[in-house]
Amino acid sequence: MAGTAKIALSGVRKAFGSKVVLDGIDLEVEAGESLVVIGGSGTGKSVMLKSVLGLLAPDSGSIRIDGQETVRVSGSGRVAMMKRFGMLFQGAALFDSLPVWENVAFGLIQGLRVPRERARDIAIEKLAAVGLDEAVASLSPAELSGGMQKRVALARAIAADPEIIFFDEPTTGLDPIMGDVINDLIVDCTRQLGATTLSITHDMASARKIADRIAMIYHGRIIWSGPADRIDDSGNDYVDQFVHGRAEGPIRMAVRDS
């Protein structure tokens, strides 16, 4: 039902120059639900996620959080909205000038004005939640492996107990085992918080693990969505081709990105 969804996109369009990236996205995420959007490279996944986050402004359409319009909200309204969000970036995006614990506590110290001592305690608690002990807290992010950086980034994303968490390709660049560890952590952490999550990925193993519902994006439109356990009998040729990773099928991969 319109208006009750935690996140609701309708008719979202975004073009860069003459290249249309989002061509009327309609998507709803219910409160407490985990929605995973799958799709190939260059189909508009990242742009969609950045539009919901407010890092990009869509050309038209509406994006509502709890029924409230967020497009073209800026200044203090935007900051207030960001405080309800957590985001796990594809490349972790840790601040390399700060030690691990300050990375995790960053949103608390800078955004929420929590005193440093208290923020450090919370950071260490959150690091423990992602399986990292206190010794890691004072290291610099550059000293960590890719999997550990992802864990720290996850701890940072959940540090302020956000209502909504976004995951951008959470398992990209990790080996399958570490990918599964991260998937497990994502499921555990978001369940514990009771958070609503919106993820994008092209890793089907990850999608199956963390999704309640899956939607597929192709050429800037949502072409299918349904419960995660229906992904194998979607009855949609595009979804089938993607799920089974076949080169042959209705989806033609563009060799050039632009």
Partner: protein, 258 residues
Amino acid sequence: MTFLAAVGRTFLAFLTAIGRLSIFTAYAVMHCVRPPFYGRLFVRQMIDIGYYSLPVVGLTALFTGMVLALQSYSSFARFNAEDAVATVVVLSMTRELGPVLGGLMVAGRIGASMAAEIGTMRVTEQIDALTTLSTNPFKYLVVPRLVAGLTMLPVLVLVADVVGVFGGFLIGVYKLDFNPSRYLASTWQFLEVVDVVSGLVKAAAFGFLIALMGCYHGYFSRGGAQGVGAATTNAVVSASILILSANYLITEFFVSGG
């Protein structure tokens, strides 16, 4: 026709860049006067720009002062005006060479590192991460650098003035056999407050331009390592050109106004 199209495209790209830079500058200046302020970052930038540039700027000024003394002596000896050496050294240093050479050296040192640091933060999504952690990247990254550039360059140039005059004094006394007290007396004789002040005004303007170019090119860099490299080059080149052209405008203002 293709020629005209190319000219048109270049012209449009130029106008786009001017517009983008104007908005960037307006935004940055606006955030300079609006809380929250990050005192810790401001102090770190001041140390980085002010303290760690001292050796570079000091050596530049020392050798410049020495060369000035030698050159002006050998030229003025042709019409028996050797006594003007001290005056030429002090006026050249304070009015022109201190700020301009100091500014150019700092542009190479600081402008490049700002563009590289902010550019890397851009391409690794750290700037997006700042936004999602309720921290305005302008306040956190740009404002401390602009204010530190604006305030520390005059301090550096004041040091450069003193070191430059000292370089001239060394050559004058130990190589050209001037009487030390007479050299110092003629250094002071024709020096006016406006000479030093005009140099410091220039320095403040150059410091602002260096930081602005470093932040601007870093902030809009794209495309991985190559993009960051290009941003670094552009930051140094544009800062240097702006320093030289702003130098003319400020000189014009002081010469005709004072």
